[in-house]
């Protein structure tokens, strides 16, 4: 896979003339807004990272570690990762249903409500207005209401688009995408309603919420768009359609059972923890079914892979999916949890998942689909620079912070004084910043590439009509 300097002329690439300009524009707007949140969210993450080995860096109340930490997580989760997948997902439901997006105007309304919520969250959290350290639900409720409205509107647009399809079958991508839009509102409402969240009830809901946000929203959307984009880019059908459907149902049945594995050894009921550990193993079924299925789709597609700058992102993303999920399962075992829980190992795990899996899939989708929409390609060399900076960056990040976590765990198990674990981790926190710096650098290159893929004004010379091959 020569990624730098390869030639790219794919007959399927020119803009798909059957996609109406309104759908193109709104999809691109989602991607562009997501890119802004990626830059903002990861620069803030970098500030947080630097503060751990240089505590006097930017000593301002609004930028203290405890405030920027939730701003980083919420901005990259709800801003970048969500919008970068929802935009392409809306395009995928329209394409696989062979219709225009049901209402690009409503899709745009959802986008701006979404942006409003993320911006409001950013400002309020920096100002110290929050609901306490309840991960990914720190926003005060009015912002959560705006967010929920945005998700419901975008989901309704997706649903109506699929309902208007001109084919009898609902393509497997749309199972995942519609599923995601069903789960997130339920998850969000349950996590914000207060009636069962006094005392330890809150912690039970916390485990459920933060876990399912990953598996029932990001994973669903990422797999949904992958089931469209990978076969499309390879010009080959999915290895096994049935395996895709199996993944959908097993994910739905197993994933919601494992939230409590974030509170192993806590006073949360033992049966809840044990069920969580058991189904953390069960999760291997949808994970390996999904990864295997999508990776096997590449079999025999070597020529397309060598030509494409988008497909390598999918390869990394799929490996990231299998790796981070398997790692999560192992972390849930009580014997491993003793060493790893509360340590930075968790931070490494979450970045392996949200970055190694979700972000790489999102980039693959953006590079794979947006040029087809707009007829404008990024510079392949710049895409290669993005790829390698991001890959080396995230490897540096995950390896260093996970090592820090292991050292912390050993220090605690050995019964050393607490500060010994800080001293052990500190050199690795510097390495984590170096990895983060490369990652942020790759995002700047990505932003330039997104800009070069933008749709040009109507009336610009139309690209040659493309072949609309049906792989879907």
């Amino acid at each position: 896979m020569t990624l730098i300097g390869m030639q790219l002329r794919n007959p399927g690439l020119p803009a798909t003339t059957s996609v109406d300009p309104a759908t193109v524009r709104v999809t691109f707007e989602y991607v562009a807004c997501a890119t802004v949140w990626l830059l903002v969210g990861t620069v803030i993450g970098l500030i947080a990272s630097i503060k751990l080995h240089w505590p006097e860096f930017l000593p301002l109340a609004w930028l203290s570690f405890g405030r920027v930490r939730p701003v980083h997580t919420n901005t990259v989760l709800l801003g970048w990762s969500s919008l970068a997948l929802v935009g392409p997902a809306l395009y995928v439901v329209a394409r696989t249903s062979r219709v225009s997006l049901w209402s690009p105007r409503l899709a745009r309304l959802a986008l701006w409500l979404w942006n409003l919520a993320v911006l409001g969250g950013l400002v309020t959290l920096l100002a110290g207005v929050n609901r306490g350290p309840q991960e990914y639900r720190e926003w005060v409720w009015p912002l959560a209401v705006i967010m929920a409205a945005a998700v419901l509107i975008a989901g309704y647009v997706a649903y109506r688009t699929v309902a208007a399809r001109t084919l009898p079958e609902v393509y497997v991508s749309n199972w995942y995408i519609l599923g995601a839009f069903c789960y997130l509102p339920i998850l969000y409402v349950i996590s914000y309603l207060p009636f069962y969240q006094a005392g330890l009830g809150n912690t039970v809901v916390q485990g459920y919420y933060m876990h399912n946000a990953m598996g029932m929203w990001f994973t669903q959307l990422a797999l949904g768009v992958s089931y469209y984009a990978i076969p499309r880019l390879l010009g080959r059908p999915i290895y096994s359609y049935a395996l895709g459907v199996l993944g959908f149902w097993t994910n739905l049945l197993f994933y919601p059972l494992i939230g409590a594995h974030h509170f192993i050894f806590s006073p949360v009921p033992w049966w809840l923890q044990s069920v969580a550990i058991l189904f953390s193993v069960g999760m291997m079924v949808p994970v390996w079914a999904g990864t295997g299925n999508l990776l096997l789709t590449f079999k025999g597609g070597g020529a397309a892979l060598r030509r494409s700058y988008a497909l390598p992102f999918f390869i990394v993303g799929l490996i990231g999916y299998a790796f981070s999920s398997t790692q999560g399962t192992i972390e849930a075992f009580r014997s491993a949890n003793i060493y790893w829980h509360f340590t930075n190992f968790t931070v490494g795990h979450s970045h392996a998942a949200m970055y190694g899996f979700i972000a790489f899939i999102a980039w693959g989708v953006v590079y794979g689909l947006v040029p087809r929409l707009t007829g404008h390609e990024p510079n392949p060399l710049a895409v290669g620079v993005h790829f390698w900076l991001a890959l080396v960056g995230v490897l540096t990040y995950v390896i260093s912070i996970s090592t820090a976590g292991v050292l912390q765990g050993f220090s605690w198990v050995a019964g050393q004084s607490f500060i010994a674990s800080v001293i052990a981790a500190e050199p690795l926190w510097l390495w984590r910043t170096i990895g983060g710096l490369l990652m942020v650098g790759s995002h700047v290159v990505f932003a330039v590439n997104v800009w070069s893929m933008r749709p040009r004004a109507v009336g610009a010379p139309a690209p040659a009509p493309g072949m609309v091959r049906s792989t879907a």
């Binding site: 306490g132 079958e169 599923g179 339920i186 005392g199 039970v204 919601p256 939230g259 006073p267």
Partner: protein, 192 residues
């Protein structure tokens, strides 16, 4: 294996997804949460009031809970932090701040372990004045640097080389509240 009409019926897919997820959410989150919130607080434990409660708000505002846990596991390495936490320990905490990261030590019982308000004031103003290797943020914005302490001022006894020359460090209301909160973190005695 056939999935029947689901393949061609978007409505059925959505309804099935909603029902299954909702039922699993009830079983795994809402019902256990209802049960867990019913545990009573240990005898003698009363809700926080006054400065300690205001200090809890400051603790939340500053995101202290992202680095400090407040729950003790039944594991040897957690012994220094107290006895293993029980559901009732969190009955009056809203929200409870068990946490997922220990970048700093657990604070369940810090009011017993470190009962000196003077230590806490110095530590909040400049953590590295008392723990040189600490990476905790310095919360200087909750202190005032004055030429002279006035009547009623609470002074943080910061070593001279850690404060601006010729100044005394006076605790602001939030700093005092935060210390009151930290001193209120004491694990209740319960029968094992």
């Amino acid at each position: 294996m056939s999935f029947g009409g689901l393949h061609t019926d978007h409505r059925a897919i959505v309804v099935a997804a909603i029902i299954v997820f909702f039922v699993l959410s009830l079983v795994m989150a809402v019902l256990p949460a209802l049960r867990q919130q019913a545990f009573p607080a240990p005898p003698g434990v009363t809700p926080r009031t006054g400065d300690a409660e205001r200090g809890r708000q400051v603790y939340m505002r500053e995101g202290c809970g992202f680095c400090h846990t407040q729950f003790v596991r039944d594991l040897p390495m957690d012994r220094p932090y107290g006895r293993a936490s029980q559901p009732g320990d969190f009955a009056l905490e809203n929200p409870p701040m068990l946490g997922t990261q220990r970048t700093g030590p657990d604070l369940t019982d810090v009011g017993t372990r470190q009962p000196s308000d003077a230590w806490h004031l110095i530590h909040l103003y400049d953590p590295r004045a008392v723990v040189p290797q600490s990476v905790m943020p310095a919360y200087r914005w909750y202190f005032e640097e004055k030429d002279q302490a006035g009547p009623g001022d609470v002074v943080a006894a910061v070593p001279p080389d850690r404060a601006p020359p010729g100044k005394v460090i006076v605790a602001g209301p939030e700093a005092k509240a935060l210390v009151a909160y930290l001193l209120s973190l004491k694990q209740a005695k319960v029968a094992p």
